[in-house]
């Protein structure tokens, strides 16, 4: 295995903009300091197109095998946004960079490719997005439900804020007569 390169946040962004210059919609780098010595941590927020997503992930894995934290999802009205939280440069004191990659999918066709062939650990997170947001993940090795019980019918997606949300299903058990 070759020596792992440790790049700073700007250099990582440059590595991606070199290859995908027009396809990246937005890049932001944020820094946070902590403690008396005021050491910094860098956060990169990037927005990319759905079509280049798989190439992007391949490019990322070629550079350094990332650690996938979690995939979070937002319902933005007309589209669903999936955010992949990766971390790079782990294993070196205070050099870790957190890369947040966000992809927007239209609600008419909420499909995206799987990354399980590059990063097998993404399986649980992808299954969770399938059942909670109604996103269809193409090529996922395991298609079953993860957290929701079988009683909840198909077509009800708990995280959505539109008519497919769970509003009809919940019961206000917590309300107590006062």
């Amino acid at each position: 295995m070759t020596e792992e390169k440790i790049l700073s946040a700007e250099e990582i962004v440059k590595y991606f903009t070199d290859k995908f210059s027009t396809k990246i919609k937005e890049v932001k780098i944020k820094r946070r300091v902590a403690g008396i010595k005021k050491n910094e941590t860098s956060y990169i927020w990037m927005k990319i197109e759905k079509n280049d997503f798989k190439d992007f992930i391949k490019h990322l894995c070629d550079f350094q095998f990332p650690h996938l934290g979690v995939i979070s999802g937002n319902d933005l009205g007309n589209s669903i946004e999936l955010i992949y939280h990766f971390t790079l440069n782990y294993g070196n004191r205070m050099k870790e960079v957190i890369l947040n990659l966000s992809v927007e999918l239209p609600k008419s066709k909420p499909e995206i490719e799987t990354i399980c062939d590059f990063i097998p650990g993404a399986l649980i997170s992808e299954r969770e997005k399938q059942e909670f947001l109604g996103v269809k993940i193409i090529g996922i090795p395991d298609n079953r439900r993860l957290f929701l019980p079988d009683e909840i019918p198909e077509g009800v997606y708990p995280w959505r804020r539109d008519e497919t949300g769970p509003e009809k299903l919940y019961r206000n058990l917590h309300e107590v007569k006062k």
């Binding site: 902590a34 403690g35 008396i36 050491n39 979690v70 979070s72 937002n74 097998p120 649980i124």
Partner: protein, 411 residues
Amino acid sequence: MKKATTTKTTYQIPIGPIHPALKEPVFFEFELDGEKIVDVDVKLGHVHRGIEWASRKRNPVQILYLAERICGICSFCHPAAFTLAVENVAEIQVPERAEYLRVIQAELERICSHTLWAGVAAHEIGFDTVLYLTWQIREKALDLTEYLTGNRVTKAIIMIGGVRRDITPDMIPKINETLKYLKDNFEKLRHIFLDDKTVKMRSQSCGILTKDDALKLCAVGPTTRASGVKKDVRVDTSYFAYGDLDITYTTPDILTGEVNGDVYDRIIVRLLEIKQSIDLIEQCLDKMPSGPIVAEPKIAKLLAQLKKTNGEGVGRHEAPRGEVIHYVKLDGVNDAPFTWKVRAPTYNNILPWIPMLKGQQIADIPIVAASTDPCMSCTNRVAIIKDGNRFEMNKEQLHKLSVEKTRRLKL
């Protein structure tokens, strides 16, 4: 083992939102060939409580207490990661004294959690006396937590922008006394766990997770450090006061010089982390600066400020079980956050169960599953497919098998 007709129960009745419990049910499905496990399938969702949904009606200060009740053992980690995320969004600068106080609470919780785990692991092997000893040691750490925060489990000590209670100089003698007690007993614990022949025979070469698998499956926490991967949020990033302190990755080669990735290595990593935590608390007490303990003492003003903030943020913390990550999106219009995503460390540690359990015997299931210290610890029901028939075993029968295997290893 009863021969049951094929009613495979795949879910349990949820036990309620406020539940500081250790054990949450998980459903395993094993494929056996004689006594050896050939394939494993894991099913989850038995205690899904809809906590993220409950956050849609609450403001960030109320969500702190909701987050605390996600898990009883990790009751500092979830609020801590949440406040880190909110502070990232709103760009709140936390005073330095508060950062050091937060580290002390986090490390104290780590000591309590790892000693509890040591007892549970000993119980799974069959040594109940060690369970009582480790939990006796843990009582002192819990008494200290009660003295510093007001409650043994639900600490309610962290607030957005700082902490809620200070450590005054008259509290320091009690802290030092507890640390001294823990240090004296640590050597006894180390001798009992690591020098004993039976523990070595039961746990070495058992439940191996290779470094390659740990990297590919994105495992976190002591599970992955025991396989040689250096991943620890406290060392990798600078948050709270960890950037100022002297801390390093805990891997098994510090003690034994080699890395196998089996259950024995995980015991080593957790015991070394207890020692590291005691050392970190002492460093904090020495270096603690003076100053305010919270950035905005008037909570009504803080809530009004958060209501107008717009943005997204990520907060990560090293819980006793691994990396906790929270994602918060505030929309600047409502009190409640637009999105709150919680990812507990055990979610990433579920997939590594599959390579760890293949090739093992049934009686090894409790110790291998417990060695990853799952926050949804015990399987309540295990369905075993053997020669095409289905048997059901519950936890007590599995535990009995594990204890009998220990007795068979004649000393």
